[in-house]
Point group: C3
Chain length 169, copies 3
């Protein structure tokens, strides 16, 4: 029975992790999703927030046609369309380095980026696309893979304040 003398119960802080993926480089996206998958496997709640170039990770290869103005089309056309099209930040070597890295990863039984994304989604990693970045670069929700929410900077900060760690990648 609780009496006035009893100390307040100290709630254990739920272990949450939040990640902003700002980069659109293959190597950094891999790092982000390897960490996210590792954390959910350790029973943490994970929120991933995709801003700027990081949104390219979420793009579908064959998105439905949407009405776009000239600049949105241009941005969309210049940036890699989805996880399979990303390049290494270093040693891309006109595509050879990136292909080599993918080949080695497969040989060593390391998950590919599309597999890591699928696994994260199935494990309940929350994926949020930055609404301001979408607005500036002219992306629509229909262009993204399934299960992606849209949220503003407040969504990220909200998640970060409840997290043990926040990483900007």
């Amino acid at each position: 029975m609780t009496t006035p003398q009893d100390p307040l119960p100290i709630e254990p802080e739920t272990d949450q992790l939040s990640i902003i993926l700002f980069s659109g480089d293959l190597d950094k996206a891999l790092a982000a999703f390897i960490i996210a998958n590792g954390a959910v496997a350790m029973d943490m709640k994970v929120t991933m927030f995709f801003a700027f170039w990081g949104m390219n990770v979420l793009r579908r290869h064959n998105p439905p046609t949407t009405q776009k103005d000239f600049l949105s089309k241009m941005f969309g056309g210049m940036m890699p369309r989805g996880a399979k099209k990303l390049k290494l930040s270093q040693m891309h070597l006109g595509g050879m380095g990136t292909s080599m890295m993918k080949w080695v990863m497969k040989k060593k039984n390391v998950y590919s980026l599309p597999d890591l994304i699928k696994s994260a989604r199935e494990a309940g990693v929350r994926m949020v696309a930055c609404s301001m970045s979408m607005d500036v670069m002219g992306f629509e929700t229909e262009e993204f893979i399934e299960g992606v929410e849209v949220g503003g900077v407040a969504t990220f900060i909200g998640a970060a304040t409840q997290s043990k760690s926040s990483l900007f990648i």
Copy 2:
């Protein structure tokens, strides 16, 4: 009245956020200041620490003349002078991509970097320039915009240990 049986009061941890802006890229500086402004709007205390290339964000366009040695002049001359001169980390395209991004942001009513800096300063975001970086690159406090403190790595770590989240951008 406090009696020996009373539990110690449990202080709620003040929500603080600390950011190291290491990068001098326009897109990363935008991300840092959008997060900082969002956090103060949500009543968090924010400390921004500017190191290496990130110090370029703080430079005035027309600084007072200071006595500099050859190397400091050279570093200063090679790096972008202030928030208006930064370039995108990708798709800079000889200036065209950066101009396009600024134009789109204006059209979509997104704050420009100088506006975000002003807003952060007025909202009480603490801005600290890294003393070691200043020393190495030969910057003087007078070359920075108003309201910038100078501090060492201990200042950053002190802020980080009192923060819910720390981001390296």
Copy 3:
């Protein structure tokens, strides 16, 4: 003597810091080790996790000969061998900028990267090389400097959940 009325002792959270060094750039490695050394000097426990290009920081200049397959040799040959060989992320200028930066740092009595690594190691900073990155890039433990552990993503997440701050650099 403890009586039932006594409040539970509130354990001060040990101040820990965890850093993932993902980048192989000289400037970012310097930042990581400056922060790590600063934190141990302030009595924090520091774990550094080296992934992808960040592993290059750990390479010995003259490693023992190991049996390697073709791709591992190629990766190894294309990447900088150790702290002395890293380049600036900007203003490398074919080596001139990087040399200039090292020269200025020496003149200003700032520790060099090899000195910072030595100092971190002696102060008890825990250094962990990412096992998955080692596997993909074909690195063996013998190629790294002394005192480096090998660990997976769970090692990093374990450290991060016990840290006040985690930085992805």
